[in-house]
Symmetry: C2
Subunit: 485 residues, 2 copies
């Protein structure tokens, strides 16, 4: 038990911080007098007191946080914070079950953006703010997780980024180097969010809508203040701003950071993921626009381009906002953009999926196997950008991608066993594990996750957290071997 005190302490500190974070919607609710004020008081108290108790318990720890504590800390953080993030929603909407509230909060904090709520247009500003602010706070966590924590834990081949991570990474203790890295990346994140909010406002959104959607977009979350999502605004300028900032947040924040610090665009040119990210998107937009025009789904080329480019970017980056019910498209086009969400986002972004880095390595490994078949004695080194991909990294990437697909198949089977039809089950699992948001059929942009049973909702919540933590972080903690150490 003693062994877990340091984790308990940090977890408690994070919960106390999370309680402070809830002060933001409380302040807004109070200022606007939107009728939801009492939902936050008790939630903040409960969160803060629980955090304090854990922190006091953890103070008895006799050692610093070590790298190996990272698994438990990360898994516990993402499993437990949704419990407290759900409280304001449960207090304001007493008919909302804990299952659904946890789902909504997990969907917020994992930046998935799948919702069980309707009537968003009539909700108090502070409630929608809290939902989207969870995206933003979750996005903060994700950036640090992806750029600093998972490379240290060696999850899914991310150790390849150890050398390239900005900030001092030499110490053996976990906290200081993560804190150092986080500072720089969060600076970029805050600056981009402010710019996004101003741009949305200039594009015609009301101020609070602009703030809330800026949180949603930069976290690549996808909650909106409207049941009709971004479609309610029916505005080309707003859609354009959304696309631009979604693309920015789909890029590795370490690349943004290096470019800003050294005041040169060179890091963008050297980022091996970037050209693939934009390449895949460009090909998709051209191809799907032609496909939908040819197939008669659209008569108007400009409208087809507008809908395709918005949803291709929104799904590929795993943002998940929608302006149109694309489940009206032919099945192939729907499946294709959902499929994009599984690999297109860059590795240090707030996006989900296996990440472009791993997709490139997988592609190169297949290419290498073909060359090896033709020339059995050839030695073909595998490179990502200027770095050589070691066998350890390759093994980890391949095992990760395999477990990603195993997770999708297993969770789909479990949902099918619970009575869900196959397309709904599969697309829901894919949308959740990729932290994309909308799936197909009843889970499409015009539907929502409200219709699921309690068990199915829990499976979806699990899928979101499993995907966000890149499978192995959670998997490791769920093995008996972890607890036997």
């Amino acid at each position: 038990m003693q062994a877990y005190f340091p984790v308990l302490g940090v977890l408690g500190m994070m919960l106390m911080l999370f309680g402070l974070v809830m002060g933001f919607p409380l302040a807004v609710s109070f200022a606007l007098d939107d009728g939801a004020t009492q939902a936050y008081d008790l939630a903040i108290l409960a969160t803060f007191v629980t955090g304090l108790a854990m922190w006091l318990g953890g103070r008895r720890a006799r050692r610093d946080l070590r790298v190996s504590d990272g698994f438990l800390l990360v898994a516990a953080t993402w499993l437990i914070t949704p419990v407290f993030g759900a409280l304001p929603l449960m207090f304001y909407l007493p008919e909302l079950s804990f299952t659904d509230a946890y789902f909504e909060a997990a969907s917020g904090l994992t930046t998935t953006g799948a919702t069980v709520l309707t009537g968003l247009d009539a909700m108090p500003v502070s409630i929608n703010l809290w939902r989207c602010f969870m995206h933003w706070v979750g996005g903060m966590g994700v950036i640090v997780l992806m750029v600093a924590v998972l490379p240290l834990l060696g999850i899914g081949g991310r150790q390849i980024f150890r050398a390239e991570t900005p900030g001092p990474m030499k110490e053996s203790s976990l906290t200081p180097r993560i804190a150092e890295t986080a500072k720089g990346l969060w600076g970029v994140y805050v600056v981009l969010t402010v710019a996004c909010g101003i741009a949305l406002w200039q594009a015609g959104m009301a101020p609070w809508d602009a703030v809330i959607h800026a949180f949603s977009i930069m976290g690549l979350g996808g909650f909106s203040t409207r049941d009709a999502s971004l479609g309610a605004f029916a505005s080309v300028p707003i859609e354009t701003v959304t696309i631009v900032f979604a693309l920015l947040s789909g890029i590795n924040y370490a690349t943004h950071y290096l470019a800003l610090v050294h005041r040169t665009p060179r890091p963008y040119g050297q980022d091996p993921e970037l050209r693939w990210f934009f390449g895949v998107l460009a090909v998709t937009v051209v191809f799907l626009t032609v496909y939908l025009l040819e197939g008669g789904a659209y008569q108007d080329g400009a409208l087809a381009f507008r809908h395709v480019s918005f949803h291709a970017v929104s799904l590929a980056t795993s943002l998940g906002l929608a302006t149109y019910d694309y489940t009206l498209w032919p099945m192939f086009a729907q499946v294709w953009i959902l499929f994009l969400s599984s690999f297109a986002a860059c590795s240090g972004s707030t996006g989900g999926g296996i990440k472009m880095m791993r997709a490139i390595i997988l592609y190169k490994q297949v290419h290498r196997e073909i060359v090896r078949s033709l020339h059995p004695s050839a030695v073909v080194p595998l490179r990502l950008g200027r770095q050589r991909v070691s066998d350890n990294v390759l093994h980890a990437v391949l095992a990760f991608s395999f477990m990603y697909m195993v997770s999708i198949v297993s969770l789909t089977l479990i949902l099918a066993a619970s009575g869900l039809d196959l397309v709904t089950a599969f697309s829901g699992v894919v949308a959740c594990i990729n932290n994309a948001g909308p799936g197909l059929a009843a889970l499409g942009p015009a539907g929502n996750y409200q219709g699921l049973g309690d068990f199915q909702t829990w499976v979806m919540s699990f899928a979101m957290i499993l995907g966000r933590l890149e499978i192995f972080t959670l998997l490791v903690v769920l093995t008996p071997a972890f607890w036997r150490r």
Copy 2:
């Protein structure tokens, strides 16, 4: 061009042999006077003459067959023989399109067993014999392919079996060592087929039905003489015989061979795939029987056990015969048994899918990644039975499994783009690439592949051959690099 003469010559010889093979249904048709005699004459002539021309063309070759010729030879054999295997069907059924006839013959020779024909019960004996004899001949090819050829070509990690292959494997020329290996394995195959035929006959089948189904079962093909498949016989003894021999053919023929030669059951104990193969089946049968009884799909435990055990074995081995329309089961149970076909069969069997060998390696690699996450400095060797799995084999297995899934996703997307619904497209691709046969929905055991459009039928034919050749054999030949050598 010169470079391909040796392949052309061998291909011609194989076609001449294939022409001779057609003498069997001709002789049967003649003896039974079943009215299909004239379908074979011209087919045999066309096959033999084409083969002779290719053989004569290839005689100008100035060198022996080399290992690197293997890719083209294997790919061309499996792409071209269905053209000639289709001829008797086209001649007897003039309304059958070439697309459908090629599909039927490819389904025969790849031992897939998906059919576009109905009215099988009223077909001449020799036509059904030819369909199932193609399974058996295809199965002969598959055994040699899996045990001798693909390990030499290093496909998907099969090089791990090089050391264990029976027969002399030391020479550098391709033909003699493959011939030597083939002799031993085919001996086992013939003995088991004779035993299967006799057992089916003793179990109550009419003699010709017993012969034809013995071919179908030992090739793990799945064509039948009845539209209702094995369900038409409604016989527990026949189903039991089928299960037993499907299990035997789902085991590595090299293991059978070693056990017979050394007259000891020890090779079965040492085969690392066997315990997993039977373990997965046992768990499936128990679990699904309980699941279907609990869910109310069956009232009668014995009937549930009979249906579940038959279809679990039939799909897991990729046989694909059916006694009941299991698409009436809840979706989960259907998907589960279809899923079994993708990995359960052993690596040197006539079955399809990625093979249990690779499933074990994938499982162990995931386990290794978890251990590595917990103990970053630990060196965890990966073993299959008594052999150490080298990094090269591991890379190849992982790349293979990845490409297997990429193939399923890509072909499903292509079929969805052609207008097929998602469940039909996905299950059809899985059933074809696994060489299992029946899929779900309209492609289930009660339906058939007749309803597909021409383009969709070609995609399915491609999927069958792609799966049978373990992806890379065909993929390598389809790359420009292969032809530039």
